[in-house]
């Protein structure tokens, strides 16, 4: 038994690691630059501002990037082509990196591309240093706009278009004419990229090893130590946010699980004992209907009909209620209970119906077996047959479901918490998704996966405890 548990836990760890990798790479695909979101910058927004602004902005960007560990290589190793330098991850801006990556993929000559990138930066600096006068403001703004476009695009036609745009504005004012030198250098650099293209380099594979200091490793080892990073939305530590949201979800779901098992098991047994009778038919039908009723529909209906002044105003439509001063413990409990009734109902009825049906099925299955007939034949009274012999055996399907309790808890909490505006984990997840707050989203997804696997582990172990016939050798 102990051996089995240990073995089971050993399987649990690699599975968790694989899941974490999958989630990490999903996170990489997320749109947007997290550093820019943290600094409240709009993407690629570089027009306007002077040199000092730019420098301090760059500094802040680099600092934030290092803080978020985004200046590290992504994974332990990378499979790229010979055309790519090992150090591409050191280019700070995500958008620039993507453009350069694409350019290397198309032309395969990093040396020239890098030179072009340097030229582009120095041209930008030159443009920023041009003093404003009455003649040039429009030209300066337009040129910088086009520079921003050059940073984000690499297709040949687009680049040519932006170049010709810049060219047309450069002649606008005498102050901008001075830029033509560095602009020619930029154009030459881009020409070099085109003429000295080494596309063949992209066809030769290269394997680079980065070691333990990489984004995934840091992210996952922090995760294991319960350091989940920062939320992009309100710049708070995610662990802190979870701490303030978990209580509601935990309370309601624990209550819900308790209620489910307390009602479902006796109901299932009752239904199975009266199989074919009127009471069983009624219970089975009601349970089937409950099982199929989408809980977000019921919750919406309940809010409309039981919580609004136009109809019955019996329950509060949202929140957990406020405490007024001088309330004692029981009054406070009353306020909470009053607010929790409807969400708890919507949260519970589905799983309650499901579990009862499973319990009934399991019980019927057991009651049809030979050893029950034997027990009856030797004259045991019915209750003893049911509770002593049949009950334990019919628990197996119910235990399997215990593994599903955790995932059901999290996905169930999303809709109920959103509809009833409860400050819990589900609402936090949905908020994060709506606001594209990816660190929070993926932390919650990984936590959910972890809890789910824990649920399955517990279910497997319980299985072994209840049914001694099962050996896990």
């Amino acid at each position: 038994m102990l051996e089995y548990i240990v073995k089971r836990i050993f399987i649990f760890i690699p599975t968790l690691i694989i899941i974490s990798m999958a989630i990490f790479f999903l996170n990489l695909m997320a749109p947007g630059d997290p550093v820019e979101s943290m600094l409240n910058l709009s993407s690629g927004g570089e027009a306007g501002g002077n040199m000092a602004d730019k420098m301090s902005g760059e500094e802040a960007y680099l600092k934030k990037r290092a803080e978020l560990n985004l200046d590290q290589p992504i994974f332990y190793f990378a499979l790229t082509s010979k055309a790519y330098p090992d150090t591409l991850y050191r280019i700070p801006r995500k958008w620039h990196r993507e453009t350069l990556h694409k350019m290397i993929g198309t032309y395969g000559n990093w040396e020239q591309i890098n030179a072009y990138y340097q030229e582009l930066q120095s041209f930008e600096n030159d443009v920023i240093q041009v003093k404003r006068d009455s003649l040039n403001p429009k030209a300066l703004i337009k040129i910088r706009e086009n520079i921003g476009n050059l940073y984000n695009n690499s297709e040949e036609e687009k680049v040519t278009k932006y170049f010709s745009n810049i060219e047309s504005y450069i002649d606008d004012a005498p102050s901008t004419m001075a830029l033509s030198g560095s602009f020619t250098a930029l154009k030459d650099a881009h020409n070099a990229v085109l003429t000295k293209a080494t596309k063949w380099k992209t066809k030769i594979p290269k394997f680079s090893w980065y070691g333990l200091k990489n984004q995934y490793h840091i992210w996952f080892s922090n995760f294991v130590q319960l350091d989940f990073g920062m939320s992009l939305q309100d710049k708070q530590p995610i662990a802190h946010k979870i701490k303030s949201n978990i209580a509601v979800t935990m309370t309601i779901s624990l209550l819900s699980i308790l209620l489910t098992y307390l009602i479902a098991i006796p109901l299932g047994i009752f239904s199975a004992r009266n199989k074919g009778r009127f009471s069983d038919n009624v219970t089975t039908t009601v349970l089937f209907v409950l099982y199929s009723l989408p809980n977000f529909w019921i919750a919406t209906l309940l809010i409309i009909y039981l919580c609004s002044p136009e109809n019955l105003n019996w329950f509060p439509p949202y929140g957990l209620g406020e405490f007024s001063e001088g309330m004692n413990f029981f009054q406070k409990l009353g306020v909470r209970a009053y607010h929790i009734v409807l969400p708890l109902f919507c949260w519970t009825y589905g799983s309650l119906a499901f579990l009862s049906r499973q319990m009934r099925g399991g019980m019927l299955n057991v009651l049809g077996q030979d050893f029950i007939r034997t027990a009856r034949a030797k004259g045991l009274e019915e209750n003893r047959v049911i509770y002593k012999h049949a009950f334990r055996n019919s628990l197996l399907p119910v235990i399997t479901i215990f593994g599903n309790v955790f995932p059901a808890m999290i996905s169930g909490s999303i809709i109920i918490e959103v509809i009833f505006s409860l400050p819990g984990m589900g609402r936090m997840l949905l908020n994060a998704i709506v606001f594209k707050d990816f660190p929070v989203v993926f932390t919650l997804v990984l936590l959910t996966a972890f809890l789910t696997m824990l649920g399955y582990l517990i279910a497997d172990i319980l299985y072994a405890v209840v049914d001694p016939r099962i050996s896990y050798k």
Binding site: T15, I18, I19, A22, I23, L26, M29, A30, P31, L79, T80, S81, K102, G105, T106, T202, K203, P205, F207, F288, V289, Y291, S292, L293, P294, F296, W297, T300, L301, I303, I304, S308, E310, N311, P407, A408, I410, S411, I414, I415, V418, I419, L429, L430, I433, V434, K436, F438, V441, F442, L444, V445, T448, A449, T452, M453, Y456
Partner: protein, 446 residues
Amino acid sequence: MSNDLNKEANELNKGVNDLKDEQVQLAINNSNDEQSYWSNVKRQYKKNKRAVFAIYVVGFLALIAIFADFLANEKPIVCKYEGKISAPVFKGYMVDAGWAKWPKQFQNVEWKDLDYDFAVWPLIPYLPTNLDFRNDKFVGPFEKQNVKSRKWRHRLGTDQLGRDVLSGMIHGTRVAFLVGIVSMTIATFIGILLGSLAGFFGDNELKTSRASIIFGALFFFPAVFYGFTSRKYDINNFGQFLLSLLIFFGIITLGIFIGKLFKKIPVLGKQVAIPVDILITRLIEVVVSVPVLVLVLAITAVLSKPSILYVMVIIGMVRWTGIARFTRAELMRQKRLEYIEASKALGFSRVRSLLKHALPNSLSPVFIAVAFGVAASILIEAFLSFLGVGVPVETVTWGQLLSASRKATDAWWLAIFPGFAIFITVTMFNLIGEGLTDALDPRQKR
């Protein structure tokens, strides 16, 4: 004398033979009475009245889904306008497919305001996206509506922008069925593929030489590289993606093939088993460990543009595990049966006995999983559009209509009807799933 005896014996023999024939015929007749497996299942299924009823309801809903454009549309089905008879709804299909263009008199017109000689209108003369400004801000089905005549009434009311709710319900049926069918097709394909591999080959029946494994693994990285990494910026459509897959599997196959050349070398040529079952069960465990809903939400958040197609594909990609498990379990049972043994003895290849013999006999439980799967995917889609995540705003769905009721608590028609539609559809598919479970259960007395 002896001749007579012979004759007698012959006659007796003949009699015996006749008797034998008769018995054989009887046996055949009997077996016809017993009927085939599927007609048995059908009979068993028909005993369940609720499940049969569910089939009819689903059929009815499917008809609504198919003919949604003819039931609720802003264009007339047939009309005579400026002396010409035309069928605008049908024509609309041709225009959408790019095979035809609207004639001049119908370009950018408000269909309802045209002066027809005659027109046959759909039952509901609105598209779910039509904004009726004279009846906006939640007009109920029984309230006074600002319409020309009874025919133009919004029979189930309107929403805030004056969109017809009944029309939305009808077109929502189509979305729901599409989601159910597309996502379950994807899920069934993946599920049967992986489930049958795991179930049929198990952990020690897919054998290959060590050299093949080594070379296959060695060629994995070049396969990834030439298939995907170096083609990263070439893959911009589905054809390119298929080409990438082809390159990927081609290189791996090449590796395995090179491995085969080393068959004769003692250490490298040793046959070892690939633990297919362990690998696939682990994969199922990984996918199952994140709740479908959370996974779908997270993936839709990553996608830059919401699209109902993405939602279908994602649901299909994460909901295959049940089907895979069913197939795996059934194949494990089937492969121990004698007929597989027999096909082995006849010298058929493993792949042939899998594809032609074991798999067709193992698919029945898959139907159960698919029926429940359709119900679940319709529910997930409704849930997503209720939350307004992943499904574009301009696609009218049941979930979206229902969520509109949260903004107007007195618009009861928005709360009742779409929710009821979701409920009925989900329930009917669940009933079918239950009916199939009972009908396919071998323990049932036939």
